[in-house]
């Protein structure tokens, strides 16, 4: 038998109009990419084009020299800080940025921080991974 509350009470067995739709259908939602904070900077990931390869060296000099670039971080930098391998929610440990070897295509190799997203992308292109 269909369980239904009375129309005055509503709830069970009655459709409900969503309250959040009004902002979404007018472009007034706030998604993470819409957030703008004072002093916000942008990041860009350099990823491996290879599925399995040894990293002999990562040259970040040209990227760091680009005006507007604030930081270039590699796996080696993280290793020095003891942050190259970090625990996940599944109780294992994973590489944050690759050290020594990449194990899958598109694995994260280096990370650029810059004042705007186009500069970050430019700098990422200047990073040489051997």
């Amino acid at each position: 038998m269909l369980q239904q509350t009375s129309p005055e009470i509503g709830g069970m067995g009655h459709s409900v109009k969503r309250k959040e739709d009004l902002r979404f259908i007018q472009g007034k939602g706030t998604y993470v990419d819409d957030v703008r904070l004072p002093g916000m900077v942008y990041g860009h990931m350099v990823r491996s084009p290879y599925a399995h390869a040894r990293i002999k060296g990562v040259n970040t000099e040209a990227a760091k020299a680009l005006p507007g670039v604030l930081a270039v971080i590699t796996g080696e930098d993280l290793a020095k800080a003891g942050l190259a391998w970090m625990p996940t929610l599944f109780h294992d440990k994973q590489m944050v940025l690759a050290t020594g070897k990449v194990l899958f295509q598109s694995q994260e190799v280096a990370f650029v921080v810059a004042e705007d997203r186009y500069t970050a992308a430019d700098a990422a292109e200047l990073i040489e991974v051997d």
């Binding site: 259908i25 472009g27 007034k28």
Partner: protein, 157 residues
């Protein structure tokens, strides 16, 4: 990157003048220079259609258009779809027919449908599905989106 171009673009009826790098994408111009964040970036590769806007009435994916290409032209974004505080029938339809859940694809869906209904006010279900085939939705499913467009077509005729 000092090479900048002066552009004038009419967005949602308002004229904007700006100096932009030739490589600036239209979607970044809309979202970051004009701060109209209703236009979304879903994929960056012109697959998903979340960034769809109307350029002189034609639906375009603004992540594959440069801001300089819009110079001298008119853009309609989701923020300009409602007129004088009144929702467009498409917006009513998406709400009434439960055509959204997370709402991320909705602005693109509405603008693609807007262009479709301007050309074809009485589309068949097949034509609606074809009209929104460049827009991906990952939560609602297309059934209710099609119903939302049918709702709007009915209201507008």
């Amino acid at each position: 990157m000092a090479n900048k171009h002066a552009i004038r673009v009419k967005v949602n009826g308002i004229e904007h003048a700006a100096e932009v790098e030739p490589r600036l994408l239209l979607v970044h111009f809309i979202r970051e220079v004009l701060a109209l964040t209703g236009t979304h970036i879903g994929c960056d590769t012109t697959n998903c259609g979340a960034c769809t806007v109307l350029l002189n009435g034609r639906a375009v994916k603004s992540c594959t258009v440069f801001a300089v290409q819009a110079d001298g032209h008119e853009i309609l974004t989701i923020e300009g779809v409602a007129q004088n505080g009144k929702l467009h029938p498409l917006q009513e339809g998406f709400k009434a027919e439960h055509g959204l859940q997370c709402g991320f694809c909705t602005p693109g869906m509405i603008l693609s449908s807007y262009a479709l209904l301007a050309k074809n006010p009485h589309p068949s279900e097949q034509e609606i599905r074809w009209g929104i085939s460049g827009n991906l939705c990952r939560c609602t499913g297309y059934q209710n989106i099609v119903k939302a467009v049918q709702y709007a077509a009915g209201k507008m005729s």
